[in-house]
């Protein structure tokens, strides 16, 4: 069965790359442009993994992550936080509120793909 990935970011310039990449890797991909849309998409699309940007309008990635983790039905959902905030303290916060991985921009696409695959147990 194809694994589903939800990409959440407010910048189209990164979404285009991530979407292309993940599709090439054979995942089924959905996209959300802000935190609220992300929560809606999680409900409708039911992704296996979510690539979540931290700095977004309306709801930040941290808030989205906390909201998702507060709902037990999402227990199996993997959350990878993508962020331009690279300080140790922020990494620690992301992991503490329930992210499964924390990737700092700029990142290597190869490594990201490899990581996503490992997490989803494919490839």
């Amino acid at each position: 069965m194809t694994k589903k990935i939800l990409i959440v970011d407010d910048e189209p310039n990164i979404i285009i790359s991530l979407e292309f990449l993940m599709k090439k890797e054979g995942f089924s991909v959905a996209v959300a442009g802000d935190g609220e849309e992300a929560l809606a998409k999680v409900a409708s699309f039911a992704p296996d993994l979510i690539l979540l940007d931290v700095m977004m309008p309306k709801k930040s990635g941290f808030e989205v992550c906390e909201a998702l983790r507060a709902d037990p039905s999402n227990a199996g959902l993997l959350i990878v936080m993508l962020t331009a905030k690279g300080r140790d303290t922020e990494v620690a916060k992301g992991l503490a509120i329930g992210a499964d991985a924390y990737v700092t921009k700029p990142f290597s696409t190869k490594e990201l793909v490899a990581r996503v695959k490992t997490m989803l147990g494919v490839g």
Binding site: E11, N13, I16, S17, L21, A84, K105, S108, K110
Partner: protein, 720 residues
């Protein structure tokens, strides 16, 4: 028994001795005789009685005379000598016993005189030693005070109660700059000898620092403690505390008797730091997502070379977009934060003309090249590393001399806004920009002296620029150094020079022994802290609408009048001045206009007086004015008040006048100007200090005694 009585007794005893044995013998013989013998004897004696009596009387008189002579010489002579000795002991050291009387008394007198001589020699010796010791202590104190006052850091020394024993000028200026009051006055209220440091620094933080030092002392570590505190005005202060250790005999057993605080206002540097942080942040964190976007797009382009051209186009566009965004944000950041991006080489604020003067001296000295100055802005401060800047100037001069042999060099200093222009001008042929470029990049050299820096380095260090420019019309050219203009943080204080004479009283080490300082009426007059004050008013009737127009005050701490810690404020009475009163106080409408009103000045004055006994001449008058404002301002002066007029009446009850002028003359105090509130307050202070001594002689020692004595005088009954 008095000497006179003793003489009478002695005379009686003499009489008894001369007559007694004869009378007693006669009586015994008489009792033993028969009647016939008695008759015979009576007849025999009666006929010769006058002769016998005469002889006895003669002998008695002789005896009395001898006795009197002896008495005069030995008893009275010795008594007189005793008096003289007392005099020598007390009032007049130089007095000597007159050598007279019998040899024994003379010897005694001589011995006493010799003893006195020896004592005088010893006393003179001790006095001389005390004087020398005092002088050297005083000299050390002066040296320390001078040292402190020149320090660029703000230094405050306190005892364990937080009372200020010493502060330097820098501290005064710094805390003055911090004060939030409307006038110069509030700053004066904050810092002062004997005042509490806790009005400036947070008490709990100071105590914590003290505790840290104690622990470090106990652990044998370097006793030093740092803390950062905020003032009421929101300024950030960094304070460093080191202990003052009481001199103790044994080593390693030192106890803390006070502390030295060095205080630095770091508000500005923290602000700069914050701006630098911001820049750093916007350049690092801010670039992350842009680079991330580019990197992902590029990776896709590389990893999937066979993607559709349409998609490829989109990825290339992403890279183009993001790169443009990045350059734009870089431009923006540099524009906005260029000031904070300047190198962190420590630059000092120097007067531009000082740099030029230094360069001129060195050019004359090293190159023997005459220099002149043109337009010079002599008030222009620049931020510079003066050593490297002067080196650069002289190095350029030296290169000019080698290549173009100018007859003289000229300097010019001008400014536009935040930039200072320092020009080095010479007359001669044009130079190529390539030459100047090589000069800029060569390491600097003046004769045999070299510097590791290039001219460019020096310019960069200053965050400045340099260029070569020709003044064609004048057939000359110049190098223009563009340097940042400095805004001196603290302006120099003029007033202090004019006030008082000699060295300012910024220290009082006797305060180390000062205990709790609440006003205790049973403490000695000479121990308390006072505020002497005077007011000038629109007229003499406070209850009829007359208002205060000036308050002047000074502090007396440890029996010294502190001429530096004064309060001097003109007050806007918010009513027209009476023309007839203007010649008296010399304050005109122009002077009161724009000054703070009493609602503003009274709180400042109140905090100036905190914890002190008030002193005024004819205090009832001034106090009445203050009391009438209680309701309006909510400020109450509850401390004890001493009145120099009443105290004068206590000391000289038989004098007719107790006007300030008359008292000044009576006590031998000469004062310059009068009828200015501050001058009058200072005069009152001088009077009070003299009065304390005179009162002490009368047995009036404590404040309570002084208050009671003052209350009993006639003048105290006159009420306003």
């Amino acid at each position: 028994m008095k000497a006179k009585h003793r003489f009478i007794v002695a005379v009686i005893v003499l009489g008894l001795l001369m007559t007694g044995p004869f009378v007693v013998t006669s009586l015994l013989v008489w009792l033993d005789m028969k009647d016939a013998e008695r008759t015979l004897l009576t007849n025999l004696l009666m006929s010769r009685l006058p002769v016998g009596t005469m002889m006895t009387l003669f002998g008695f008189v002789l005896g009395v005379l001898v006795l009197h002579k002896l008495f005069k010489q030995y008893v009275e002579g010795l008594l007189r000598m005793a008096e003289t000795l007392r005099l020598m002991l007390g009032a007049n050291r130089n007095f000597r016993v007159t050598i007279e009387g019998p040899p024994e008394v003379q010897q005694l007198a001589q011995a006493a005189n010799d003893l006195a001589q020896q004592r005088d020699a010893l006393m003179d010796d001790v006095d001389a030693q005390i004087a020398t010791a005092k002088a050297s202590v005083e000299e050390e104190k002066n040296r320390l005070a001078a040292l402190m006052s020149e320090l660029a850091q703000a230094v405050v020394v306190c005892n364990l109660d937080g009372r200020i024993l010493l502060y330097n000028n820098r501290a005064r200026l710094q805390f003055k700059a911090l004060s939030q009051g409307p006038t110069s006055v509030a700053g004066g209220a904050l810092i002062g000898l004997g005042r509490s440091i806790f009005s400036i620094l947070e008490k709990s933080q100071v105590e914590h620092a003290e505790e840290v030092i104690r622990q470090r002392l106990a652990a044998g570590k370097t006793a030093i403690s740092n803390f950062i505190t905020t003032t009421r005005g929101g300024q950030l202060l960094r304070a460093q505390m080191v202990p003052v250790l009481a001199a103790s005999g044994e080593e390693g057993d030192a106890t803390m008797s006070g502390y030295v605080l060095t205080v630095e206002n770091i508000t500005r540097s923290i602000e700069q730091e914050a701006r630098r942080d911001q820049v750093l942040h916007s350049l690092t964190e801010g670039s992350r997502s842009t680079i991330g976007n580019i990197r992902a797009a590029v990776a896709n382009l590389i990893d999937y070379p066979d993607m559709e051209p349409e998609l490829r186009e989109r990825f290339v566009k992403v890279v183009d977009d993001e790169a443009a965004k990045m350059s734009q944000s870089l431009d923006l950041t540099m524009g906005e934060f260029s000031d904070s991006m300047k190198t962190r080489w420590p630059l000092e604020d120097v007067l531009g003309i000082d740099i030029i003067a230094a360069a001129q001296r060195r050019i004359d000295d090293k190159l023997k090249l005459p220099t002149k100055t043109e337009e010079l802005d002599d008030a222009l401060w620049i931020k510079a590393d003066s050593y490297s800047l002067v080196f650069a100037l002289v190095c350029l001069a030296s290169k000019l001399q080698d290549h173009y042999e100018p007859r003289e060099l000229r300097f010019r200093l001008t400014s536009t806004g935040r930039l200072a222009y320092l020009d080095l001008i010479w007359a001669g042929p044009a130079m190529s920009s390539e030459t100047f470029y090589t000069w800029e990049m060569e390491t600097m050299q003046i004769g045999s002296e070299t510097s590791p820096l290039t001219l460019r380095d020096v310019i960069d260090r200053h965050g400045g620029e340099i260029w070569y420019e020709r003044e064609k019309a004048a057939h000359r050219a110049f190098f223009r150094f563009v340097l940042p203009v400095a805004v001196p943080e603290i302006e120099h204080d003029q007033e202090e020079r004019s006030r008082g004479k000699g060295r300012p009283e910024y220290y009082d080490f006797d305060l180390f022994k000062f205990e709790d300082k609440n006003i205790d009426l049973d403490r000695k007059l000479s121990d308390l802290t006072y505020t002497v004050f005077d007011t000038e008013t629109t007229g003499l009737e406070p209850s009829n609408g007359d208002e205060i127009i000036q308050i002047g005050a000074a502090r007396i701490v440890n029996n010294r009048l502190l001429r530096q810690e004064t309060f001097d404020q003109i007050v806007d009475p918010e009513c027209p001045l009476k023309p007839e009163s203007i010649p008296i106080h010399g304050i005109t409408e122009d002077m009161v206009r724009g000054q703070p009103n009493i609602d503003v000045v009274l709180p400042a004055f109140h905090s100036f007086c905190e914890d002190t006994v008030l002193i005024a001449h004819n205090a009832a008058f001034d106090m009445r004015f203050l009391q009438l404002k209680e309701e309006r301002t909510g400020i109450r002066f509850t401390q004890p008040v001493l009145d120099t007029l009443l105290l004068s009446a206590v000391i000289h009850p038989n004098q007719e006048s107790h006007k300030l002028d008359v008292i000044l003359e009576r006590l031998g105090i000469s004062i310059g100007t009068r009828h200015n509130a501050l001058q009058d307050a200072l005069a009152t202070g001088e009077v009070f200090l003299k009065q304390v001594k005179l009162l002490e002689e009368m047995g009036i020692v404590t404040v309570r005694q002084a208050l009671e004595a003052a209350e009993k005088t006639y003048f105290a009954r006159v009420k306003y």
